[in-house]
Symmetry: C2
Subunit: 145 residues, 2 copies
C-alpha cells in the first residue's frame, strides 16, 4: 500500500501559497491548475491544513495563506494533517490471531512496539525537513532554470 497522494499535493499547495501568495490571490482553482488535482480535493486538503493550524482560508473573497512561519512547518506536520490513519497507525495488523495458539495470543505483544518504532523512524525523518527548505530549494531551481 501507499501513502495517499494528498500528502505530496499538500506540500505542493503550501509551496505555491508561499511563492505566489505575494503577488496574487491563491485560490483553489489556481492550485488545482498547478497541481493537476481536482479543485474540490484541493479545498478538502486546505480544510485539513486549516484544521491543523497550518493555513488560513477566506470564504467568499477567496484565497489562502500560511498561518505559521515557514520554518515552523515540517513535512511531518503536513503528513499528519492530511493523514487518515491516525488511530490505527501505519501498519495494518491481521485481525483475528487465534488466542488458543501461544503465538497467536502473544504476537501483538511482540510486534506492536517494533511497528511503532518503525513508524516513528519514518515520522522523525519527515520532521527533519521544514517547508522553509522546500520553498528555498524550489526557488533556487526556478532561478537556475
Amino acid at each position: 500500500m501507499q501513502i495517499t497522494s494528498k500528502f505530496t499535493a499538500a506540500v505542493h499547495i503550501l509551496t505555491c501559497i508561499e511563492i505566489f501568495g505575494g503577488e496574487m490571490r491563491v485560490t483553489s482553482d489556481f492550485l488545482s491548475g498547478s497541481t493537476g488535482v481536482n479543485a474540490v480535493i484541493v479545498r478538502n486538503v486546505l480544510g485539513q491544513l486549516r484544521e491543523a493550524g497550518i493555513v488560513e482560508t477566506r470564504q467568499g473573497s477567496g484565497g489562502a495563506n500560511l498561518a505559521k512561519a515557514l520554518d515552523e512547518i515540517t513535512l511531518y506536520d503536513i503528513y499528519k494533517a492530511v493523514d487518515c490513519t491516525d488511530d490505527t497507525g501505519l501498519f495494518r495488523f491481521h485481525e483475528n490471531p487465534n488466542a488458543k495458539c501461544p503465538v497467536g495470543r502473544n504476537i501483538h505483544k511482540v510486534m506492536d512496539s517494533r511497528l511503532e518504532a518503525a513508524q516513528a523512524a519514518l515520522e522523525n525523518d519527515l520532521k527533519r525537513t521544514t517547508l522553509a527548505k522546500i520553498v528555498a530549494d524550489t526557488k533556487k531551481i526556478i532561478e537556475d532554470e
Copy 2:
C-alpha cells in the same frame, strides 16, 4: 493508507514455523488456524516468502520450514518479500503536476530525494530486528505465562 496486513501475518507465520516446526508438520491449514488468515492467503504469503528465499515449502507432503538462519532474516526482508509497492515506493505522488507552473514542473526534483530518505528511515529501522529476536521474545512470553 496502511501497509498490508500480509506483513504482520508473514511474521506470525514465520514465528509459527520456527516454534512448531520441530514437533509437527506446519501446513497452510494450521497456519490459517493460528493467524486467522484464510488458508489460500497463507499459501500466497508463503509463496512470496519462498520467492524471497526465506522459506521452503513441500508440495504434496505439505509443510513449510525456514530456508535461512533465524538471525539472517530481518523484518525488512519479510516486509520486502510481501510488499507490492516495490516500483513506486511508499509514497504516492499526485500524478499530473502542471509543467507550465514553475512549482509544478519542479516539485518532483525537490521532493523525491526526501521521500526516499523517509522511506529508507522506515526500512532501516525494520532491518534492526531479526526473526531471531521475535522468536526469542515470543518464547520468553510463552514461558512466563
